[in-house]
């Protein structure tokens, strides 16, 4: 099955084509077909994962050289190694759940089939991205997921906010992709190939100097920064929540934004070779994670809280990967790589679940604002319970999946005290804001009675995926239990599996305490109401405002980048309108002028010559026509003279020494003379005839 794993990404592509060309007006068939295809992909992914396990993680690679230049080689190919296999299962699992869920969530939408075609296109791109065996292919699919993300964020493009958000997302990620592209150029120039294995071999052999390698690593990381919404390009992800919620769950929580993390994990050999590049990655990850977690504390939009939580968790993974690169470069042992990829997997499940749960809540109450919710537990039990399971998981409570992966990330920071403290602080904040969300949404008194009365549990097609994902949100972490000797860490690793330490109970207790205290604080503030959040807000008013306004990043970018760009564009427009258009108009004016000159020349000189020739011929004919005077005797005379003339020439009585031109002139003069003779006779005869007529 592994050798046919390209089918995993081609099945959704087939579904996309079928829906676009044949099933657009058959909504149920379109949805069913799309779900059938992704389920088939899912089955194949699971088989591929099992086969990869059976191969003890040996990579399978197949490719086709489709463009070969001297010194540069483009390939189309697939690479199935443990990381790919895990990502395939994650993407297809969440993808299947989201597609099934969408049948309920998008019910009655006028563009229902189109939504499923976009989802299929996205899954094709994402699976292609995961399966690619070289940087060039990953870049192509990278841009494709960017495109589908744009299409899906702007799915409800009638809303201006959605249209703006999709443009913002597209342009912001494009900024990062520019860096990615520069990184690709560096790789192409210095390595002459895009294939992962060959590139890493060349780097290991020293194809790049340290400076160039660091630059290439950071440029590649820029692509990941854009796609994974890391600081400073994180601003698009919260706005992307304007898209339909299943899209937020699939693309902006579980899969596409994880593509950046996947890219960093995939090119880990480059980061390991460049300690500086790795440190940049780790610091960016930490800054992002901390910043996003603090913003999430203050937001009231349920999806925005989750969006900032996503950014924060992605920052976690990036930080873990960066620390792995840094520690390995310095010869220290690190679990960062395993921690990052492990958290990537567990996060995909519980964050997908959180978003789908949030979608279910929004579906029930028709608002995003948690201040208008409250007490919904009684109305929607399945949603509430699954949502809380996911919240436990993200807060890192025993025995949920999040605990195990988060523990590993904490373990990865052990060599770096600053990182360790901030990571624990972030874990505390995560637990707090997630449970703030839970308590505000599901418990207490309903704050908006009208909305509460209309709230209802979502249909089963939406709750079943929730239950399935809740199951995974609990159990997915168990593949990496510290008590297992051959768990996740011995399967997905970079170069060599980390040494097995056995469980670190101290660490577990610390992170459990941190998580529980976060939950406890949220409990006191939002359930028991024994601590008032308003008091804290008033005490730290400036900080609260700063956080509530997301560190004013949007405003900052507006002033620093967008306004100057707009004014520059305005200037360029004016330049265009006045100078360029002026030049064009001048050229047009000159052309018209020149055309006038030519027209005059044509009319008077050329036409004059032609008409003049005609006029001359006509006048000559007018003069010569009198030779034809109708008198037989005149003709006879003419013939006689010519015969005599010819006879004279024949017997050389006159000589042709004068040449033909002169003879011709003599002939013409003779003809004219005769003409005059004939005219005079004509006039005479006319007079006679006139006289005869009178008689």
């Amino acid at each position: 099955m592994t050798e046919h794993s390209y089918l995993i990404c081609l099945l959704p592509a087939f579904s996309f084509v079928m829906i676009v060309f044949f099933l657009r007006w058959k909504e149920k068939v379109a949805a069913g077909f799309s779900i059938a295809m992704i389920l088939a992909s899912w089955v194949m992914s699971v088989i591929v994962l099992i086969e990869t396990l059976a191969r003890h993680g040996h990579a399978y690679e197949a490719f086709y050289n489709f463009l070969t230049f001297p010194g540069l080689n483009f390939q189309i190919g697939i690479l199935v190694d443990p990381l790919t296999a895990v990502m395939l299962v994650v993407v297809t699992t969440v993808g299947s759940c989201v597609q099934i869920y969408s049948v309920g969530y998008m019910h009655g939408d006028p563009r229902f089939s189109r939504f499923f075609s976009y989802l299929s296109l996205f899954l094709f791109s994402m699976l292609g991205l995961v399966l690619a065996n070289n940087f060039f292919m990953i870049f192509i699919f990278w841009e494709l997921v960017g495109l589908t993300s744009y299409l899906l964020i702007g799915f409800w493009f009638e809303k201006k906010s959605a249209a703006d958000a999709c443009k913002k997302a597209f342009l912001t990620t494009r900024t990062g992709d520019l860096g990615f592209l520069v990184g690709l150029f560096l790789i192409a120039v210095y390595c002459g190939t895009f294939n992962y294995g060959e590139v890493f071999d060349k780097i290991a052999m020293g194809a790049m100097s340290t400076g160039v390698l660091t630059a290439a690593a950071i440029f590649i990381f820029a692509g990941a920064v854009g796609k994974s919404a890391q600081f400073p390009l994180h601003v698009w992800l919260p706005d992307a929540m304007e898209g339909p919620t299943p899209v937020s769950a699939l693309i902006h929580a579980a899969t596409m934004v994880a593509a950046g993390v996947y890219l960093v994990a995939r090119s880990m050999s480059m980061f390991v070779a460049s300690a500086d590049g790795s440190m940049v990655v780790a610091i960016i990850g930490l800054v992002t994670s901390f910043m996003a977690a603090t913003i999430a504390l203050t937001q009231f939009d349920i999806k925005r809280v989750l969006a900032y939580s996503t950014i924060s968790q992605l920052g976690y993974m990036i930080m873990a990967l960066g620390l792995y690169g840094y520690d390995t470069a310095h010869g220290q042992h690190s679990v960062g790589y395993y921690a990052g990829t492990f958290h990537l997997m567990t996060h995909a499940f519980f964050k997908g679940l959180l978003f789908l749960g949030a979608g279910s809540v929004i579906h029930g109450v028709h608002t995003n604002d948690i201040r208008e919710m409250g007490g919904l537990y009684n109305k929607m039990k399945t949603t509430a319970i699954t949502f809380m399971i996911a919240s436990f998981s993200i807060a890192g409570i025993f025995p949920f999946a999040g605990l195990w992966s988060k523990d590993e990330i904490v373990a990865a920071t052990l060599h770096h005290p600053v990182f360790l403290i901030l990571t624990l602080a972030i874990a505390f904040m995560t637990a707090f804001y997630m449970w703030r969300l839970c308590f505000l949404t599901f418990t207490g008194e309903p704050r908006d009675q009208h909305r509460y009365d209309h709230a209802h549990e979502s249909p089963r097609v939406m709750t079943w995926p929730l239950v399935f994902l809740a199951f995974l949100a609990v159990t997915a972490g168990w593949v990496g239990l510290p008590w297992l000797h051959h768990g996740f860490s011995s399967f997905v690793f970079h170069e060599a599996p980390p040494e097995h330490h056995g469980p670190s109970y101290a660490l577990m207790i610390i992170s459990l305490t941190v998580g529980l205290s976060g939950i406890g604080l949220a409990y006191l503030m939002y359930y028991k109401k024994s601590l008032s959040p308003d008091v804290l807000v008033n005490k730290f008013r400036p900080i609260y405002n700063l956080l509530y306004n997301k560190y004013y990043f949007d405003e900052l970018y507006n002033v620093v980048i967008i306004r100057p760009l707009l004014s520059f564009a305005n200037f360029m427009w004016k330049f265009d309108a006045n100078v360029i258009d002026g030049l064009v108009n001048l050229i047009a004016w000159l052309t018209v002028l020149w055309a006038d000159v030519k027209q005059w020349f044509d009319k008077w000189i050329i036409d004059g010559a032609v008409n003049g020739a005609g006029w001359i011929v006509r006048q000559t004919g007018e003069g010569l026509k009198y030779v034809q005077n109708g008198k037989a005797q005149f003709y006879t005379l003419f013939i006689s003279i010519i015969i005599v003339f010819i006879g004279l020439i024949k017997y050389e009585l006159i000589y042709l020494a004068w040449g033909w031109p002169i003879m011709t002139i003599i002939f013409v003069i003779g003809v004219l003379l005769l003409t005059f003779v004939s005219r005079s006779t004509r006039q005479g005869t006319n007079r006679e005839i006139a006289q005869e007529d009178k008689v």
């Binding site: 026509k625 034809q628 005077n629 109708g630 008198k631 005797q633 005869t685």
Partner: protein
């Protein structure tokens, strides 16, 4: 032989002059006959003095006389029609086929 040829030349010239200068159409036809006869004299003279063994020249002269007779007939018929149309047989009368 010179005398014969001279006679023929003189006759031809007189005929030519007549054709070119006469106004009367019948006169023109008569002058034409003179030219024919000049040609006949030439034929006969050449036959008599140069190609004595053949009768071709004399034969040709007889043909010409026959053809001239036919031509005169046709010509006189045309003259008759011209007279009916223009009440006269001046050659200038029927110069209608011009420009």
């Amino acid at each position: 032989m010179f005398y014969y040829l001279a006679l023929a030349a003189i006759l031809f010239s007189i005929g030519m002059f007549g054709v070119l200068t006469r106004r009367n159409t019948i006169g023109i036809l008569m002058s034409l006959e003179l030219m024919f006869n000049a040609a006949n004299i030439n034929f006969v003279a050449f036959n008599r003095y140069i190609i004595t063994e053949s009768m071709a020249g004399q034969l040709f002269a007889i043909f010409i006389i026959v053809v001239a007779a036919a031509e005169a007939t046709v010509g006189l018929a045309i003259v008759l029609l011209v007279y009916r149309n223009w009440k006269g047989i001046d050659s200038d009368n029927y110069s209608v086929m011009k420009w």
